[in-house]
C-alpha cells in the first residue's frame, strides 16, 4: 500500500500510485505538483546510514586513542559535515 501524501499546496491527503514514492505527482484535488511521500532514493538512504555508522565508528576509535572528549568532538565534526552534505541534496 503506498504511503499517504499531504499536498503541499492544498493540504489534501491522497495516496500516490505505487512506484512514485519520492517523485513529484499531481494532487488529484488541486492539480498542482507535490512530492509523493516515501523514499524512492534507497541508494542515497543506504549511503547516509553507512556514513552515520562510519562517523560513530570513528568517534569510538578516536576516543579509545585520545580520550572521550576528543572522540566525541571528532564524531560531532563528522556528523556536522554529513549534515552539510545532506543539505545540498
Amino acid at each position: 500500500m503506498p504511503p499517504t501524501t499531504d499536498c503541499e499546496h492544498c493540504l489534501n491527503r491522497f495516496e500516490a500510485e505505487l512506484g512514485l514514492e519520492g517523485a513529484l505527482v499531481n494532487c488529484p484535488d488541486c492539480g498542482q505538483a507535490t512530492r509523493a511521500a516515501g523514499d524512492g532514493d534507497w541508494l542515497w538512504s543506504g549511503l547516509k546510514i553507512l556514513a552515520l555508522i562510519a562517523v560513530v565508528a570513528v568517534g569510538i576509535l578516536v576516543s579509545t586513542q585520545y580520550g572521550v572528549v576528543i572522540g566525541l568532538g571528532a564524531a560531532l565534526a563528522g556528523a556536522a559535515l554529513l549534515w552539510l552534505i545532506s543539505q545540498a541534496a
Binding site: 512514485l20 517523485a23 524512492g40 545540498a88 541534496a89
Partner: protein, 186 residues
C-alpha cells in the same frame, strides 16, 4: 502560451567554460532569446530551472531529479506556469554506457516515447575516440536533437516535425536535460 512551445526549431547554447553551476540560453531562428536555464552549483540532487527571460522573472519549467545518485535517475518535469507535472525523463543507466538512452514518461510514469542517440557506431566512437564527435538524438519519429560541432560552446539544435504528438514542454524539458546532463560529460 510561452513562445518556445510554439516553435518548430530552436537552439540551446551552453557555455562549457563556466566554473560554478551551469546556465544555457535558448534562441529561436531569428536569434531572439526564448528561454534561459540555470543550474544551481553545489546541489547533489539535480535541480534545473528554466525561465522565459534571463532576469529569471517568468518561470517556464522546473526539472528535479528524484535521486541523488543518478545512475538510471528519473527527472520530474513541472510546468511552472500551471504548477502541474507534465511528465518525467528517465535515463537508462546501463543502456547509456553504450549509447545515451532516455525514456520519456507521462505524469504517472507510463512510457510515452524513447530518446536515443541515433547511431551505436558514432556513440562508441564518441566514447572511445573523441567526444568532439557531435551527438544526435531522436525522440520518437518527430523530434531530433542535434549537437553542432564547437569545442567552446555546447550547441544543441531541436527540431520538431509538424505532425509530432509529443507535448512541447516535455520536448523542451528533454532538451534541457540533454544539454545539462549529457553536455556536462563533454
Amino acid at each position: 502560451m510561452p513562445a518556445i512551445y510554439e516553435l518548430s526549431h530552436y537552439v540551446v547554447r551552453r557555455k562549457i567554460l563556466k566554473i560554478l553551476g551551469a546556465s544555457f540560453h535558448v534562441y529561436d531562428d531569428s536569434e531572439n532569446l526564448v528561454a534561459f536555464c540555470s543550474q544551481k552549483a553545489f546541489k547533489l540532487r539535480e535541480d534545473i530551472r528554466v525561465f522565459e527571460d534571463e532576469a529569471q522573472t517568468r518561470p517556464l519549467l522546473r526539472i528535479q531529479a528524484r535521486q541523488v545518485i543518478d545512475f538510471s535517475a528519473s527527472y520530474d518535469i513541472v510546468d511552472e506556469v500551471s504548477g502541474q507535472k507534465v511528465g518525467a525523463a528517465r535515463r537508462k543507466g546501463l543502456g547509456s554506457l553504450v549509447r545515451d538512452s532516455w525514456e520519456i514518461l507521462d505524469e504517472n510514469d507510463a512510457l510515452l516515447d524513447r530518446l536515443q542517440e541515433d547511431s551505436v557506431a558514432k556513440a562508441l566512437a564518441r566514447r572511445f575516440l573523441s567526444n568532439l564527435i557531435p551527438q544526435r538524438f531522436q525522440l520518437g519519429r518527430g523530434v531530433t536533437l542535434s549537437q553542432r560541432f564547437n569545442p567552446f560552446v555546447y550547441r544543441l539544435e531541436v527540431t520538431l516535425a509538424p505532425n509530432n504528438d509529443i507535448d512541447p514542454r516535455l520536448v523542451f524539458g528533454a532538451a534541457a536535460l540533454i544539454a545539462a546532463i549529457e553536455g556536462r560529460q563533454d
